[in-house]
């Protein structure tokens, strides 16, 4: 037994290690790599993995749960509250419309309305795992497309609870036995009165929120003081597993519960700790999940009925995409955002596996219907990333916001070329100031609404991911003198900086850093011009305080300039030191240590030296 587990683990890991880099090399997303690895090692290709694929699928769903927990960590409660309209509006419209249309089509195809409704519910759901992983990988989370997708997926996660509650009502058999242990866990409360069920659900949500604040954070603090790293890993896992169990117990979606838990902890000091601890688990489990989906594609069913399956897959994707497109139009998205959304969410999701198997146990679906639908689900999931890629490479550049619009470039602009990456809050100020001084930067941005606006205003703008070398090249990186990186995400910034330093060392890099730590990292990469976004502003604020306390403005002005200079020097000194301890120290603790060093330096230095200039004290003493 242990031997077979070992072999399985080896097969999965090896499959991933071989297929994912290969997919990446071909310019495909890692999701597709995992899916292909799954197909390859699955029972119908190499046969390394057999029927146990389903169990693995169930286990690997933790990956999805963790992903939502991590996403929750990045969304602060008040931002979540702001999204409520999009969640209900877009999510509601998408689910309801899809169910209605798909149900009508299936009834026209002579299916029983109960079967049609069940299948339609499954079809209405999209894959959180695939979509969000792809969005994160491309760094599109902050675009309209990203938030819209997320809103719809979150609504689906909520509505799936309702679906699981409705399906038994469609059952042809009274008191259908619930044998599968997943559903027995789901319906622990089934025999209790409805009011009590609702109360239990509410209570557990409240429990997650309250426990997040008053139980988890104090425990994490305790654990952190022990300075045993694996205990933090253990508690992070415990949080996610605990939430999952609780949610399954009361019949809520674990992913939803984990998301809530994440939101609650988003403002805690352990945010980054939890993130860095769970990230690798999430990645591996999601990979496992995608491989399990790949392995579960039943090629015998496909072989028996290739035309019908093909037709269904095409039909489902077309139907979902059209309805998403309509919903996106209702919510006034731009054409390319609409296309991204429509194609991004056109697959059937992982919840369909649960929903369909559950309906099968309740005798709503027969085994042929179940098999066909499972295959269709897995196939749409596999095709989704491919379609997304086709959309991005072949369709989008032709429609709507093009990567590049031809515009005559005058000679000076060409030889003194400045490229500005990112035109958000930071970058726009940079770009506007440059333009006000007559310097036109070439702009790269990945928000199509913004790109269109900027083009209207006469900027030379390229649309897309700035870490793509081909895009940078068409934006003229080879002739550029300066590249300004004003990207918000530190990881992307560092990736871009590394890449450019290697391939275009002659281009001067001027890089925005979110904070001291990012600045250290950039300095240690050998980038000279690092601009901390908070430094000048906070010194200015402190200066205004000093003025309010009675200091003269000019004195404060000089002190502030000295302080900034001193802080830049100490930054460079401490960056040298931070090289030494890189990997194994807790990130949060490292930050505290850095701050300690910094404060110690301040202490050694004492008060900023007073100007001796203009001081007649010395002359007075002499005389």
């Amino acid at each position: 037994m242990s031997g077979s587990i070992l072999i399985q683990a080896i097969v999965f890991l090896a499959g991933a290690i071989i297929c994912v880099p290969l997919a990446k090399k071909l310019g495909l997303s890692s999701v597709l790599g995992y899916l292909l690895a799954g197909i390859l090692i699955g029972p119908y290709m190499l046969g390394f993995v057999g029927e146990e694929g389903d169990d693995i699928l169930h286990f690997a769903e933790f990956g999805v749960v963790m992903m939502l927990f991590l996403i929750g960590l990045e969304i602060e409660p008040k931002n979540f509250w702001k999204m409520r309209k999009t969640i209900l509006g877009m999510g509601g419209a998408q689910v309801v419309l899809t169910i209605i249309v798909s149900c009508l089509v299936l009834i026209l195809m002579d299916l029983d309305w109960k079967v049609a409704l069940t299948i339609s519910m499954a079809v209405a759901l999209s894959s959180t795992a695939i979509t969000l992983q792809t969005i994160k990988e491309k760094g599109l989370f902050d675009t309209v497309y990203g938030t819209s997708s997320f809103s719809i997926l979150l609504f689906q996660d909520i509505i799936v609870i309702l679906m699981l509650a409705v399906i038994p009502l469609l059952s042809n058999v009274e008191n259908a036995p619930a044998t599968d242990d997943h559903s027995s866990a789901t319906f622990l409360l089934e025999n209790l009165p409805l009011g009590f069920q609702a109360a239990a659900i509410m209570l557990s949500v409240v429990f997650v929120i309250v426990a997040g604040r008053y139980l988890i954070v104090p425990i994490m603090r305790r654990v952190a003081t022990t300075r045993v790293r694996e205990l933090l890993t253990a508690s992070a896992l415990l949080i996610v597993l605990g939430i999952t169990y609780l949610m399954e117990l009361v019949g809520l979606s674990p992913a939803l519960g984990a998301f809530l838990g994440g939101v609650v902890l988003a403002t805690s000091e352990f945010k980054h700790e939890l993130e860095s601890t769970l990230e690798p688990f999430k990645g591996l489990l999601l990979g496992l999940f995608f491989m399990a989906v790949g392995a579960s594609i039943n090629f015998i069913v496909i072989g028996d009925n290739p035309l019908m399956i093909g037709g269904l897959v095409v039909g489902v994707i077309a139907l979902k995409a059209i309805i998403l497109f309509v919903v996106a139009t209702m919510f006034k998205l731009k054409i390319d955002q609409k296309l991204l959304l429509a194609i991004g969410l056109a697959q059937i999701g992982e919840f369909a596996f649960v929903l369909l198997s559950f309906a099968f146990q309740l005798n709503i679906l027969d085994s042929v219907q179940l098999d066909v639908m499972l295959v269709v689900t897995a196939l749409t999931m596999t095709l989704a990333p491919i379609l997304g890629m086709v959309n991005e490479r072949l369709v989008l550049p032709r429609i709507g916001t093009k990567e590049y619009e031809k515009r005559p470039i005058d000679h000076i602009a060409k030889t003194h070329k400045v490229i500005l990456v990112g035109f958000g809050h930071f970058g726009s100020t940079v770009g506007r100031f440059l333009r006000a001084s007559g310097i036109e930067a070439t702009i790269l941005d990945q928000d199509s609404n913004r790109v269109d606006l900027l083009r209207k205003m006469g900027f030379e703008v390229y649309y897309g991911d700035a870490t793509r070398m081909d895009l940078l090249e068409s934006a003229g990186i080879s002739e550029a003198k300066i590249l300004i990186c004003a990207i918000d995400d530190p990881d992307t910034t560092i990736y871009l900086a590394k890449m450019l330093k290697e391939k275009y060392p002659q281009v001067k890099l001027m890089v925005r850093a979110k904070n001291r730590n990012d600045a250290y990292e950039l300095l240690n990469l050998g980038i000279e011009n690092v601009y901390r976004e908070s430094l000048e502003t906070s010194v200015k604020l402190a200066g205004d305080v000093l003025h309010d306390m009675g200091f003269r403005k000019y004195t404060v002005h000089r002190q502030a300039q000295k302080f900034i200079q001193y802080d830049e020097e100490s930054l460079r000194r401490l960056a040298e030191e931070s090289k030494v301890n890189d990997e194994y120290i807790f990130r949060v603790r490292e930050e505290i240590e850095q701050q300690e060093k910094q404060l110690e330096e301040d202490l050694k230095r004492g008060l900023i030296e007073n100007d001796k200039q203009w001081d007649s004290e010395l002359m007075r003493l002499r005389e």
Partner: protein, 201 residues
């Protein structure tokens, strides 16, 4: 009553005993606008149109500053460079300042006796102030002799009180627009008989 504009420039005002005492006498005086340049423009970014409006609203312009290296502090020079525009303060249509009066109020560390051909500084204060005098003249202003508080390093409290009182009297004199004939022959306004009546007024 004439309106007086004091343009004050001191980069380290908080540490100047003499100037604090002098300023205290004039900064809340009715009919006198005390304009603290280093406090207003710590970044040297002078609002030219505002400065012009201020000038237009006053009859007497006072350049009040410590005498550093025989000159005014840099922000005062910056003020002269950017505010006194061609075509406004001087040049063909540059008559905005015509008929106004203008003078320097300065503080020096060295005493009056080292500011002469035999002293360490070789030249008199009046000679050092020639650029200001000519600037005022080019702008059509009437340049008055300076009011100088000298030897500030060794000033006793009593002496300081005397100077500040004189500064007050000077303001009085300027506001009432006394005839200038009286002062044209003295090197310093400090020596004017009106400021040395021994509290007779």
């Amino acid at each position: 009553m004439k309106r007086v504009l004091i343009l004050f420039a001191h980069p380290k005002f908080e540490q100047s005993r003499t100037n604090k005492a002098l300023v205290q006498k004039v900064n809340n005086r009715e009919g006198v606008t005390f304009h603290d340049l280093y406090e207003r423009y710590p970044d040297f970014n002078i609002d030219v149109s505002l400065e012009k409006k201020l000038l237009e609203r006053h009859d007497v312009v006072v350049w009040h500053h410590p005498f550093y290296w025989y000159n005014c502090p840099p922000l005062m020079k910056q003020w002269i460079d950017v505010v006194l525009e061609f075509g406004w303060a001087y040049g063909p249509q540059g008559n905005a300042l015509e008929t106004k009066k203008c003078l320097n109020v300065i503080t020096t560390g060295g005493s009056r006796d080292i500011y002469c051909s035999e002293g360490n500084n070789h030249y008199s204060v009046n000679e050092f102030l020639r650029p200001f005098e000519q600037t005022a003249r080019l702008c059509g202003m009437q340049y008055l002799p300076p009011f100088a508080v000298m030897g500030t390093h060794k000033l006793s409290t009593q002496e300081l009180n005397h100077h500040t009182h004189q500064y007050e009297l000077l303001m009085d004199f300027l506001q009432k627009d006394m005839p200038v004939g009286d002062v044209e022959n003295c090197a310093f306004l400090n020596d004017m008989p009106e400021l040395n009546k021994n509290n007779a007024t």
